[in-house]
């Protein structure tokens, strides 16, 4: 009897998990309609200004290009610390997001500014590498000083139904992270259905993710409001079940501050006030910061702004 039970039970699961194939099914039409409702709220004046500042403070300023150089990363770090010199009392961004090879440069450039360094890892963006390489990739990033690790799941294995493989992989990367917080990128653009997004979210959270993240930014569609809503509801259900808060990071395709404010409305109405800080919610974006700054400048001066007068990096 005892032997038979140990065969049935997976020994490496610390949190009691269900059968992921039985994850909640998603009503696609309902989700899309619900998500579009969040875009109908009117946010003006003081509320808008505070919202924009919060958005700025939630941005993971990102550069993930093959052509990245030390100079580019340093410049981006400067931008992170001084988003705009003419605007008084604006916050810094939350973090800089770079490849592992750039972590040391970013860490040094940011100094004691309090801005975190996030590093992608695990053979980003495809994730097509053996597990030991992914673990070494992660450990390298952490040893270089990364405060946060953004990993990608093995979408191929996920589609093949090998949920245990995906689960174990996330758990092993979490272990390799040590104190660094782990963001798990589902790459929703490659998952195909909301049902699968929900299932992947459940797997990631049960396997130890600190954040779940929509996309790498390399695949279209990247973050959308409906897909983010599905993930936020997964976080909410997980919280009710376990009492553990999980962060959310939509990434890619959010470049307008108006859209970012819609996202904030959605987070507030699905998860509540507790999630309204960069501890629990992030935007993965490169051009959003400038649009937010342009809007803040518009609020200050009353003039519509031109991108020509804002630094690119």
């Amino acid at each position: 009897m005892a032997v038979a039970k140990s065969i049935r039970t997976k020994p490496n699961l610390t949190i009691r998990q269900g059968d992921f194939a039985l994850s909640t099914r998603i009503d696609q039409v309902g989700v899309e309609e619900r998500a579009s409702r969040f875009t109908k709220r009117s946010i003006k004046n003081d509320a808008k200004e505070n919202g924009l500042k919060l958005v700025l403070n939630m941005i993971d300023l990102t550069t993930l290009e093959g052509k990245d150089t030390d100079g580019k990363v340093k410049q981006l770090c400067y931008k992170a610390m001084h988003p705009h010199d003419a605007l008084a009392d604006i916050p810094t961004v939350a973090a800089i997001c770079v490849y592992p090879s750039m972590v040391k440069v970013a860490k040094k450039a940011l100094g004691d500014s309090g801005i975190k360094v996030a590093s992608v890892a695990t053979a980003f963006p495809s994730g097509q590498a053996p597990r030991d390489i992914k673990i070494r990739d992660t450990k390298y990033a952490v040893n270089e000083g990364a405060d946060e690790v953004d990993m990608v799941i093995s979408r191929g294995k996920f589609h093949a139904g090998e949920y245990n493989f995906v689960f174990d992989e996330i758990a092993s990367i979490k272990e390799a992270c040590g104190d660094a917080r782990l963001k798990v990128i589902l790459e929703t653009g490659e998952l195909g259905t909301f049902d699968k997004v929900r299932r992947a979210s459940d797997i990631a959270m049960h396997a130890g993710a600190d954040f779940i993240k929509t996309s790498t930014g390399k695949i279209a569609p990247a973050a959308t409001m409906p897909v983010t809503l599905v993930m936020l509801e997964a976080i909410r259900d997980f919280y009710y079940k376990t009492g553990k808060m999980i962060g959310m990071k939509p990434a890619g395709g959010i470049s307008r501050s108006k859209l970012a404010l819609h996202y904030l409305v959605m987070v507030k109405e699905v998860l509540g006030e507790d999630w309204m800080s960069n501890e629990w919610f992030r935007f993965g974006a490169s051009s959003l910061a400038n649009d937010v700054l342009m809007q803040l400048m518009k609020l200050k001066t009353g003039q519509y702004q031109s991108a020509n007068y804002f630094s690119v990096d």
Binding site: G302, Q303, Y304, Q305, S306, A307, N308, Y309
Partner: protein, 316 residues
């Protein structure tokens, strides 16, 4: 306009009772909408106004555009700059010619609208014909003004030094109030002939032709966003037209000295080019000239190092 429609009698059976109904067709009136980015949206504000003819007849319900419509139009215009200015000048010429062709094809409608806006038949015909000719005129200039206004400059060093006109970018235009078609065409054509994109505020009191002209633009190969046409009140929108940091030049065609002062002051923020066309008779030759194109051009000078081959001491 009540048109007598051939009366037809229908026998309609209702509740078993037979009665005769005379059917007079209800006219389907056109909705005059604004033109932004190649689309015809209504104003985001949901507001409208009713311009009236001299006899007091309401011409139409016309969009009363807001500053946010203007903001959206500038975004469209900015997005269209690189594509439009990057086209071959000859291709821009072809498209302006096409605009004239499409205008010719809808002549009757424009004449009808001008008459509704109090023009006599003769004057309306003259205005439409001149508007078509003016488009042809600037179609011709598209690939020719560059030669006329560029120069090779003599310099005291081994450089090939030349200056060429380049489009300034996004131009905001407050069109003439009076000549609602000819004035509009006469200010838009030179701006886009030179490779700029524009946002235009049509005549407040006579907006019908402007909206119909947008339909001409929409069917004449002109890329969306190159010309954006709003209807509304200059008094409300003028300051936004000149305040926007992403607008490179402003053209003002009225003679309100307060507005002119405001334009001069606000344009200083990002050093806009400002041009006033307040004393121009668009019906004469003074209404067309390549110098109108140059009003929204910038001169770029290039110093290209060369070996001084012909000079003394130069040699192979």
């Amino acid at each position: 306009m009540e048109k007598e429609i051939k009366k037809s009698s229908l026998k309609v059976s209702e509740n078993g009772l037979e009665k005769t109904v005379s059917s007079k067709r209800l006219e389907v009136l056109k909705t005059y909408k604004i033109y932004i980015g190649g689309q015809f949206p209504r104003t985001e504000s949901g507001r409208y106004y009713q311009p009236v003819s001299a006899s007091g007849k309401i011409l139409a319900n016309v969009c009363l555009s807001s500053r946010k419509d203007f903001r959206d139009a500038v975004v469209s215009a900015r997005g269209a700059v690189s594509g439009w200015s990057g086209r071959a000048a000859f291709n821009r010429s072809q498209i302006l010619y096409r605009m004239a062709e499409m205008l010719e094809g809808r002549k009757a409608q424009f004449i009808d609208e001008l008459i509704q806006q109090d023009a006599t038949k003769a004057k309306a015909e003259k205005e439409v014909n001149l508007a078509i000719d003016r488009l042809i005129y600037y179609a011709g200039w598209c690939d020719k003004f560059q030669q006329l206004f560029s120069a090779v400059n003599p310099v005291a060093s081994s450089h090939f030094n030349f200056s060429v006109p380049e489009p300034t970018g996004v131009v905001s235009i407050i069109a003439p109030q009076g000549d609602s078609l000819l004035g509009l065409v006469s200010v838009i054509a030179p701006v886009i002939a030179g490779g700029n994109t524009c946002v235009v505020l049509a005549s407040e009191t006579k907006p019908l032709c402007a909206v119909t002209f947008a339909e001409v633009l929409n069917s004449s190969d002109l890329p969306g966003g190159v010309v954006n046409i709003l209807t509304g009140k200059p008094a409300e929108l003028a300051s936004w037209f000149v305040d926007h940091m992403d607008v490179n030049a402003t053209i003002y065609c009225e003679n309100n000295s307060e507005t002119k002062k405001m334009i001069r002051e606000k344009s200083a923020m990002n050093l806009k080019r400002i041009t006033f066309y307040d004393k121009i008779n668009w019906y004469t030759n003074e209404g067309e000239s390549p110098y109108f194109i140059m009003d929204t051009q910038e001169i770029k000078t290039t110093w290209h190092p060369v070996e001084n081959i012909a000079g003394a001491g130069g040699g192979y």
